[in-house]
């Protein structure tokens, strides 16, 4: 499959990239880092822009310094980072389960937190979508999942983002109006098209992880049919802090691949703070979260299964973290 035509820009710095973005903004552009996600969509003629600004030549965002991860660090590098393996195992677990090993060698963490939402009616070839009559997220004004829906319900498919949200990580953005730092949990919209509150000109430069994360037990569980290639059918990220008496000091559980954004569950988990963690409590939390979870029918496994797996994954993950 050939790619549609576009101009490619290869800036050497963030600043230069943003300048280019302002020159071509009227025509439209995308930033591209690893490209493993975006180029698939481009091949399928999905929301192709006339300009592509490649971040590959930018050196300043390529390192891991303590808990600041440059956005251009690859998922494979994160999986192998000794500090993160020790102090933020959940992120390592999440990143090492993205796509296939060959994808992870190229795909970056910045790209993964911004990965396009996926839907069975969207991630298809032009011929397929022609035959379908296209969908809300690309060429049509009708959602094929829920025809009356006014916004897109494509599934949030990042593996790393739920984990980052669970530890209250921040994203450093740089754009035409300068730098800013946003809470990862406030970053995502509920719309499968818009996806997040990033200004068009902005680039994620850094993932900032709170230092306190090292004191947490973090973990990530994902259901997929194959242990490679597959995007999550449902995923759970958890960050847990329990004291000596096994009392919960802090608990965050975030679901991925259920809705259009990483779903936090504070309403449920806050109720258990200060209580002693037990198998029965884990079961209760898991059941409550499962009950609330409402997946859309737009991936290749039935909704009923994915909903059920929310509970199973929660239970397993919390048990694993408590026992570790």
């Amino acid at each position: 499959m050939i790619l549609p035509p576009f101009e490619l820009h290869n800036p050497n710095s963030i600043k230069e990239a943003i300048e280019i973005s302002q020159k071509v903004k009227n025509e439209g552009f995308d930033y591209v880092s690893g490209g493993t996600d975006l180029l698939q969509n481009y091949k399928n003629r999905l929301n192709v822009k006339p300009h592509l600004i490649s971040l590959k030549n930018i050196k300043e965002t390529r390192s891991i310094q303590n808990f600041n991860i440059g956005a251009m660090v690859t998922l494979d590098e994160i999986s192998k980072n000794k500090t993160l393996q020790k102090d933020f195992t959940g992120l390592v677990e999440a990143c090492s389960q993205v796509g296939s090993i060959l994808v992870r060698k190229t795909a970056t963490i910045g790209g993964n937190v911004l990965i396009d939402n996926r839907c069975y009616f969207y991630n298809q070839t032009p011929f397929w979508r022609t035959s379908l009559g296209a969908c809300l997220k690309a060429e049509s004004d009708t959602c094929r999942v829920i025809p009356q829906k006014e916004y897109c319900v494509a599934t949030f498919s990042s593996d790393s983002a739920p984990m980052l949200v669970a530890v209250d990580a921040k994203y450093e953005l740089e754009g035409k109006n300068g730098k800013r730092i946003v809470e990862s949990s406030d970053f995502y919209t509920h719309d499968g098209i818009k996806r997040n509150f990033k200004d068009e000109s902005e680039i994620i430069t850094k993932i900032k992880i709170p230092k306190t994360t090292a004191n947490l037990k973090t973990g990530y569980e994902k259901i997929r049919v194959r242990d490679t290639f597959d995007y999550p059918l449902v995923s759970v990220a958890a960050a847990l802090k329990i004291d000596k008496d096994k009392k919960i000091e802090n608990i965050n559980i975030v679901l991925g691949a259920i809705g259009t954004y990483p779903i936090k569950n504070e309403d449920t988990t806050d109720l258990f703070k200060g209580e002693k963690i037990s198998n029965s409590m884990i079961k209760e939390i898991s059941e409550k979260i499962q009950k609330k979870a409402q997946p859309y029918n737009n991936l290749t496994m039935p909704v009923s299964y994915r909903k059920k797996m929310v509970g199973v994954l929660c239970k397993r993950l919390l048990t694993r973290l408590t026992d570790s």
């Binding site: 298809q124 035959s131 379908l132 290639f229 299964y305």
Partner: protein, 784 residues
Amino acid sequence: MSHTVGKKTPLVDGAQKVTGRAVYIDDIVLPGKVMLIGKILRSPFAHAKIKKIDYSKAKKLKGVYAIATAEDSDNRFGVLPITKDETAFAIDKVTFIGDQIAAVAATDEETAIKALDLIQVEYEELPPILKPEKSLAPISHPDQKIQPWSKYEGNIFKTVNQSFGNVEKALKKSSVVKNGKFSFNGVTHAFTEPMGVIASYGSDKKLTVWSSTQVPHYLHRALAEVMEMPMHRIKVIRPYVGGGFGGKSDPFPHEMAAAILSKKTGKPVKILFDRDEVFISNHGRHPTKTEMQMSATKDGEFTSLEIDALIDGGAWGSFGVITTYYNGVLSLGPYKIKNFNYNGNRVYTNKPASGAMRGHGAVNSRFAVETLIDEIAEDIDFDPCDLRIQNAYEPNSTTANGFRITSCGIKECIEKVKIASGWDKKFKQMPYGKGIGIGCGFYISGSALPINWERMPQSTVHVKIDFDGGVTVHSLAAEIGQGSDTVLAQCVGEVLKCDMSRIRIYSKNTDTAPIDLGSYSSRVTFMAGLAAKRAAEKIKKQILNAASKIMASPIENLELKNDRITELKTKSSISFNEAVREALHDSGALHGKGHYQAPNLNPGLPRVDELRGKESEKGAPMGGSHKGAAAGLSPSYSMGAYVCQLEVDAETGLVNVEKVWAAHDCGKALNPLAVEGQIEGCIHMGLGQALMESFDYNRNTGRIENPNFLDYRCIPPTMMPDVDVFMIESGDPEGPFGAKEAGEGPILPILPAVANAIYDAVGIRLRNLPMTPEKIISAIAKKK
């Protein structure tokens, strides 16, 4: 001691492959920048009348050389001469999403794609017929007929009714009767190389077609019919083929389109599929609904088997007649079942055609048979392995429908895996979640009745030796990765006892190769292997005659060994080359021709009757005289038994297959490296169909839901179990050096072995494939 046969032999074309030098279809570069790129316009509707095609705008686009539609050709073709229902381009109506409407030849891919965008087609949509049950019903309006020429009622493509023995009577003496409704989603080949074709119509009015195909000969025939050209003006070249598994064993419309476009433009035209087009072309395993009933006495004697199969053929016939028979008759081994009823219907639906895929026609019914056997065993308190052994055929038996079983190592297979797996200590004794299960298989070694009922041999091989002492072997058996070139080299090398480096295989070109029907129905080792062996034997005679002259000793005293000819009494010897040169003097290159024709076929069929006694064979006659007696008839049958051990995660439904013990009776493993590779590959593919592969269609539109490798899931390396392979060598009396097939049969046992192991692990019986996690957890929940 054997010379090459039985030794692990790396593929003779392997060095080219591992160095990246092997030339596949998309690697072909023709001299001069003359090649045009062809692209195909496909139907977005499953069922619609074509009212109008307007390609005037597309034709005007710069860089477009030609556009072809049904105006250019309306000749029908199809792999089976009795069911030719395909055309190069849809005529008047489209019958599935992806049906080929027009094709463009342009300077490059981008121009060709843009030209497709400019072709306007007016359709009148018809309600698609997607459920096979619906296709059984009579039609009330001619528009509902998917393929108008079919002689059956409704949208039925083929009906088979067969009955042997007396099931009713058998049931009376049976103490256990098990039945079930099974359903099998379609699966597809998923070879890694997309199909592609280059056609070049020359100024000499000759046509050359390169195609990634398993059946150059059938393509040759179809091209002749579609292009209305005599076969001698057409040459088909098969480059290296990146996997087939049955998916490249039909002549295809895109091959016709390339030929038509090349003739129109006078330039070579290449059409290379995108991955979604490969899925759209499908020809994979038929989605099937099977009702089956099996009975046995309390002493463990199988008494009867009844099968009712509804087979979803999609929009074309393909190999469908054969599929319809195979779903029944291939269940008549390896167990003695004397009373049998079969009712099979293959129907047309508005979906991409189903066709032949590894284990063609046998896989789904085999799954049902083998799981029902386990249910019977449980009821009458038999060990499943012992029950199978008790009912298994002995060598030199005849099945209820007249299949002649010669070599037969099924009992040995079962015993082997039973012991190797530690069955007696595991079955029913492992903790909840862990299980072990057995399954067996039975398959043909080539079809005794050729597709075209002619007196032409099924395989012919030429062997030639010239002054350089090199042995060239000419055949049209298609090397598609299974190692057919290597096995032919071994068969020739074994006879001539020469160094393997002397032997070169030419199997790519219809101009230079004698006809071979191609690589399907697991026929090559048996049929082409025998032809190669016979051709080499003729050469050997000429060489020995020459040696006899040089050494002044009768042939009986000469021995050919390791590239030398030795006089056994004097121990003097001459080299292979010396003898060859002597034989060449005054005559030129040595030629040997060998062929294979199945022996003594079904006497009931008039055309085939002429064949009787024409080929001198030691084999006994085979086949009955009932209608369809030749279907499934093979000169030999392979069989096998696998044990599978696995763990089921009862909460997520995910299955971890830990280990497979696989015993397959291949007669004689001519190349153990290739036989093991086939068995391991079969397990990979069978596990996929058992657990995750599924060719999904939208229920309302007939659109394929997963035309890519992300959503059509094959087993990845990380999920492949360890496999212990046991090659059981029963020594086939007729096969080359005792060999029979090992390419397709080995897929059969793994699917039921998995299902039976899942039952052992968590006590559920799933009857719908694939056994996905959600089906597994719902079944577990239901049981509780």
